[in-house]
Symmetry: C2
Amino acid sequence: MPWVKDFDVEGAVGCAMRVFWAKGYQATSISDLVAAMRINKGSLYNAFGSKQALFARAFLKYDRENRQASLRKLEAMDEPVLAIRTLFDSMIAESEADTERKGCLLVNTAVDLPNQSDEIQKLVKSAIEDLERFFRRLVEAARVRGEVRPDIDSSVVAKSLVGQVVCLRVLARGVFDVSGLEAIRSQALQRLGA
Amino acid sequence: MPWVKDFDVEGAVGCAMRVFWAKGYQATSISDLVAAMRINKGSLYNAFGSKQALFARAFLKYDRENRQASLRKLEAMDEPVLAIRTLFDSMIAESEADTERKGCLLVNTAVDLPNQSDEIQKLVKSAIEDLERFFRRLVEAARVRGEVRPDIDSSVVAKSLVGQVVCLRVLARGVFDVSGLEAIRSQALQRLGA
């Protein structure tokens, strides 16, 4: 009979994800993880191999359930400018509701990129590139609909919208109040010329 | 005879600063610090009290010698729009030269703000507020000179320029190449309407 994991692996990854998200990869200890995941150290290493491998699992879960799921819903609105505005509105609302000020696991990891493993560096870059392509598609769609100026450079604007997401997420962790976050949103929308 | 420190305290703080800058506060161990500072653990605790207190010293040194010194020079140019452009140019040049991709100690600390001590949280916020006031003064000066549109809201634009500095510093740590950083600069200058 093969060895069977006697705990809910996906649930445990979710618990680990929340610890990494709030504390950051470096500051998270194995003791923090086993306490949050309610498993013992042996089970953790048996099931996941290492803190680094568990972080990769947690990061992918976060990325799939948070970033990718949100972007998919926004793109399905089929209203490109409204979708971008809604993304910024919902990040501000999320930041206001986030009493732990966890921010965004993707951005928190990106700021410490040189200290991450090659695997995590690749995952972070690929998630950011995907966000950039999302913006590029929306800006292009808005251009075709005549909702933004016709000479807009969707590739440059997409990069700067990624920048706006990043700074909103960083500054929402306790530096800026809501008026600062709104200034960033207004910059993003101005950039769009919408 | 009072107890005399037998090492160059300011030089040692500089060495600690470089470690915190590249590795981040959480990932920096006391062993990393004593190795970089070339003193023993006893001297470190005697002279600085704790890792946290040493970090506050290092952060203040960084802020004084890097951020404050640069902003003072830029403001002395007495060419507000050129000064803002020069700030973004020099951050891009610095990022390209930064083979360790250390980024900016202020921004690296801001992204992890909820996990910092109250003292560090205050230092970070006060440095960001100072940067915001710098931008506000320059935008106001540019308005008086007629170099930006007369109805510009210097307070909102200053906040969004802080945002541009933050995202440039984060994304320069390995996510964006120079074309991405240039997109952020162009966004900052567009915001200025200059």
